[in-house]
Amino acid sequence: MTLLRLENVVASYGAVRALQGISIDVQSGAIVALLGANGAGKSTTLKTISGMVRPASGFVEYDGQRLEGKTPNQIVRLGIAQIPEGRKIFKDLTVSENLRMGAYTRKDKAGIEQDQELVFVLFPILKERARQLGGSLSGGEQQMLAIGRGLMARPRLLLLDEPSLGLAPLLVADIFQALRRINKERGTTLLIVEQNAHVALKNANFGYVLQVGRVATEGTSEELQRNREVVESYMGTQQ
């Protein structure tokens, strides 16, 4: 079943026409990788889904509803959470306050508490640091907090913008292991933007490769992994 569908989406980010007609299909329960070089339009694609950028034409359909024109607040309420590039945790808020803000749109106190416990099971270090300021965490811990904060919205679809950025390989493996666990245990659908094609395809079911605002190629992870040279040619100077 298709959970999210982008059909021929054109969108500008600033003065740049970042998306020039992108069509993407995300199946419910899948892990989908969105690959491409810098400036290929990956982040703009996520921003268009989360309502931060409005498409000039084309449409975004989620769970049978059109998303264009909805506010970020409404989109979070529909079950889509975004984990922004560079983690963007609130530095002057404590870890638990950060998590609480992830659940801003929710009113079910018991459910929120339950989800916070789940985040602490997934990332025990966050429980230890619960009262520390977000800004005092290490890069890896901040990425865990950013993912945890995203989960606090209890999303059906989690959008991740470069979760591996700036992290040591060992930490990247940990983060992706956690993401697979979220996908498996909670049934959360993941759409992951990555520059690290190798790690992304190892963990995803399906992948799209973007090049200057268009889908250059797509396929299952196996297919894309077999055609690594093709993927890497689109990705630029990667690895």
Binding site: S50, M52, Q82, P84, F90, K91, L93, E97, R100, R149
Partner: protein, 289 residues
């Protein structure tokens, strides 16, 4: 004598502190230096006079109605004046609040006249002995109110969802939006808080000074100076700055002569900006625009 000077300095300083906190809260969520902050208090003082004298309401009912009215004034200012230009640079925003300042001055003068009025609730000068010094009953009451409001603010910012969301918007408005935090609503809430604080300041300060359209001009400047002490960002910094200004100007007034009072506040800011332009406490956040 010295202790007494310090105590009454702390008492006026606590009212500057409320103004400073309002300046900080509005600035860090909207990049707006709100020059109309003092006039919110001035309108509050005039409305309080009407409620007390014309309608014969008791003091506490007056406070409640006044707070609601000035919160509405804050929200109205945001909706009608600031929101349409919210994406402009800081100078435009600043100039708009200057406009609101003159409008409120004009409106107050037009409705209530330019001459000063006495506040119907008088300042109680009865001396109270505390910590080995003598402080007037009125000052003690004002300090009590300021402390209580400080506690309310602390609880709001630390424990309530909207209070934490306000801090999140301060930290990173873009990401706050991604979390589904309605940033516009939070900005409205910020201006409501500015009104909430202003109403209290107006009612508490009115018995000490007088009520007139320009009554808050000097208080606003000192509140602003105190806010700069906190780097226009830190609430505790602004509060400590305000108390320091209150004490320093009172000492200057007592030992050098009363016309040195205001100059002291400015001398302090000159010294501060020379040696610690980022504020006395913490680092000023320079937000990308």
């Amino acid at each position: 004598m010295l202790g007494q000077q310090i105590m009454s300095g702390l008492a006026t300083g606590s009212l500057y502190a409320l103004t400073a906190v309002a300046v900080v809260v509005v600035f860090r969520n909207t990049r707006t230096i709100n020059l109309a902050q003092g006039d919110f208090s001035m309108m509050g003082a005039f409305i309080a006079i009407i409620l007390l004298k014309t309608y014969g309401l008791n003091y506490y009912a007056t406070i409640v109605l006044c707070v609601l009215a000035i919160m509405a004034l804050g929200v109205l200012t945001e909706r009608l004046v600031m929101r349409p230009i919210a994406d402009s640079d800081w100078l435009t925003l600043f100039t708009a609040t200057l406009g609101v300042y003159y409008i409120l001055h004009g409106v107050a003068g037009w409705i209530w006249g330019r001459d000063t009025k006495a506040f119907p609730v008088t300042f109680d000068p009865t001396p109270v002995h505390i910590f080995g010094t003598v402080v007037s009953h009125g000052h003690l009451i004002n300090m009590g109110w300021a402390a209580a409001i400080g506690v309310v603010l602390y609880v709001f910012f630390k424990y309530t969802k909207q209070g934490i969301a306000m801090r999140a918007v301060t930290d990173d408005p873009e990401t706050a939006k991604l979390m589904g935090i309605p940033v516009r609503f939070i900005v409205t809430l910020t201006w409501a808080m500015a009104g909430f604080l202003a109403a209290f300041i107006g009612i508490l300060i009115a018995p000490i000074i007088y009520v007139a359209p320009e009554m808050m001009d000097e208080v606003l400047i000192k509140g602003y100076v105190a806010a700069v002490f906190g780097g226009l960002y830190s609430i505790p910094g602004a509060i400590i700055g305000a108390l320091m200004i209150g004490v320093a100007e009172n000492l200057a007034g007592g030992y050098l002569g009363s016309h040195y009072k205001t100059a002291t506040a400015f001398a302090m800011i000159v010294v501060l900006l020379t040696f610690r332009p980022q504020g006395l406490f913490g680092i000023q956040k320079r937000r990308e625009i």
